[in-house]
Symmetry: C2
Subunit: 155 residues, 2 copies
């Protein structure tokens, strides 16, 4: 069997990963959102997001699968890609009807490129305050992939 | 408010999406795997995959969150990115201990770039037979995003 050795770049430090994650959050538009219903059936969809410096906000119709799952569970798992430059976010999620926070609606519209207030039907914002963030590229970064725990950035 | 109009390419036909999805499956290495536990807590992680022409196989330690969730639920939702070129797969998932199918282990190793048989601990293959596949790029492709339903490619 032919074996090919690929030289990986050295693993990034925690501080480097934090810097890269904040850059992704500032630039990014879409995030993968995984949620589940009470029977443990998983859903997964990409949604546009807005990052306010501490919290991730996505918008979804109140009656969509993601909207129903997050309203029920009050939590979700979100991830930025690509799959070889992963950032995973976990934390509680607040559900806010879009008509109840006009400032958030404006900020989300500017970041996401569409305005929920002009969209058909009832929409909600799902706003996660990450408690845990993990960041890794290749297998040599799996160790030390936690860069936030209990809501605190690790040094 | 400044409004910017971006010209999107015309939506792909069902046949074009199918061709693009099969190319992604042939070339791709990693897929997002969403699963959930019995309380409806979602998990999400990228895993290397092997596509045999009809089924998607990923490997995971039997005691990982994904391993436990899929063993319990017998289903998952998987997605190929990036987030503006999405393919979503849903279907039942068989769980196969890696030592029980040596041909599958070899094929997975060749596609995924690592051999579960040399990995520490007990590993399983989770093999999905997609029943529903959706493919879209931008908002103008949300309509007609189903390209497989009930296990059949749509025309």
């Amino acid at each position: 069997m032919l074996s090919i050795e690929i030289e990986l770049p050295p693993p990034r430090t925690t501080a480097e990963r934090r810097r890269d994650v904040l850059a992704k959050l500032a630039e990014g538009v879409d995030i993968w959102v995984a949620s589940a219903d009470s029977s443990g059936r998983a859903h997964l969809i990409p949604l546009s997001f807005y990052w306010d410096g501490e919290r991730l906000t996505v918008a979804t119709p109140v009656n969509s699968v993601t909207g129903r799952n997050i309203t029920r569970a009050g939590c979700a798992r979100m991830a930025l890609g690509p799959t070889r430059d992963v950032v995973v976010f976990e934390g509680p999620v607040e559900v806010i009807p879009v008509e109840e926070d006009n400032d958030l609606a404006s900020a989300h519209a500017a970041a996401a490129g569409f305005d929920t207030r002009g969209s058909q039907g009832s929409w909600i914002f799902a706003r996660m305050t990450p408690q845990r963030i993990q960041a890794w590229r290749e297998v040599n970064e799996l160790e030390k992939r936690d860069i936030m725990l209990d809501g605190r950035w690790l040094a």
